[in-house]
């Protein structure tokens, strides 16, 4: 496996860029059918790692494909960054780990909370409201919608 970041991508790359996050194992990435392949690994989807991904993508050319593997929160953030660069849905493959934290967006204070438990409620890290996690997902935010869980309970 070639070393990950920093190694530089040949200009005009049109093969498959494989990005893994966290502990996810690179070898879990699928075979690329003989297409040229470039591997990247990041601990998580931070501002720095996403900007590195964006610069790799903007150096590549139409024809490129992207495979993202790892925790759902990370790969969704990376997919949103790829969309900003002009990649289309059909050019990006998501391989989310079965389990992992979720992001929950709180419309009451506009912060996004990381939910480690897989329950139906979470406490907002921004305004401490207990949020019901709705079955409503935004790809752009990589987050589920939360809303005040107890607003309709008699005071």
């Amino acid at each position: 496996m070639p070393p990950a970041a920093g190694n530089g991508l040949e200009p005009g790359f049109r093969g498959v860029i494989c990005v893994s996050f966290g502990s996810s194992d690179d070898t879990a990435l699928p075979d690329t059918n003989g297409q040229p392949r470039y591997d990247l690994h990041f601990e998580s989807a931070t501002a720095e790692s996403l900007s590195e991904l964006k610069s790799v993508l903007s150096g590549s050319r139409v024809g490129v494909r992207l495979i993202l593997a790892g925790p759902p929160t990370d790969i969704r953030a990376a997919a949103a960054a790829a969309a900003d660069c002009g990649l289309l849905g059909e050019e990006v493959t998501l391989l989310p780990q079965e389990t992992g934290p979720r992001f929950v967006y709180c419309p009451h204070c506009l912060t996004t909370t990381v939910d480690e438990a897989a329950g139906t409620e979470v406490k907002c890290q921004g305004c401490a409201t207990t949020l019901t996690i709705a079955d409503h997902f935004s790809r752009r935010r990589g987050a589920y919608l939360g809303y005040s869980a107890h607003a309709e309970e008699a005071a």
Partner: protein, 333 residues
Amino acid sequence: MSSTIIETDPDAALLPERIRRFPFPFASDTYRYSANVEPATKTAPTEAGAWGAHLVDIDEHYLDELAERAKVLTRDPSRVNVLPHMRTAVWDALTTLLSSMAEDYPDTMSFHREGNICRWRNGLQNLEVEFTVGDDSSLPEGPLRFLGTQIQDDIILLDIREDTLWLDAGLVTFAADWSFAFDVGMNFLEIHHPVPRVKEERITSRAEQFLLRLQPGEQFRRTNWTMTIGRRMDTSTETYPEWGPDRTTIADDPAMPEKLHLRVEVQHLIRLPHSGALLFLVRTHLLPLTDIARVPAWREKMGHVLAELPDDMAEYKGIIRYRKAASDWLLAR
């Protein structure tokens, strides 16, 4: 289906304008979701009067609602968003709607365009401005915020690509229990994911096919409804902690008939001429039960609709805790 002939009540002429022009949405004693779209700007008669002759409807609440919108935007700027590729669509929406208003209200409004230079006069606001299409800095706060100061409608713009509609821009301060800021960037089916029944009944997929086939310049409309406690325009998910608690107390409130409103959205679907984007306008009308009850046919239809509405729909609309009280009151008149 709704082939019922609507006859205006002979006493209707005595009713106040807010009732005569109200877009009462029920054609019969039951209500189900359907792809209820029709050509825009066709006058729709009701038992109390008529509505719908104009694309942009201006009524007695014009200045109040615009002031309310300004307050909401100051408190929460997340109610406006324009993804960068939607700039052309925003200008397209602005020029389309201002010229439509100038045509419909020639006594108070005028719009002139010479190349990209436009002049807009709005006598209701003592306003005269000149701006340049495509130059965002030619209007204070940009073209979308400006449009939001001229019309009462919430404004949503959908891009069309990959055979799908994408909600990529808008200014929404009067949402009925949804979050615009959260929905930005979603496609048509994702937006409607929380709505019960519509997937099974293929309503959203059919509606989307219909919208994708609209040609630039075509304009359609539909209505949707729910109920709101108080004359509260902003019932977004953002402020749900403020207004949600009212839902638990209204049924036992002696002032329920004055406080509880039928909330009707007149939604316009317009394929814009130059950008090809879909403009979705949502104009919210609120009328208290006391006013509904002044039109016997409305009182009865609404009373029956509320009583009969299936629980999943009543739950989704957030009216399940008080719809029986409202229905009982209407039908006991």
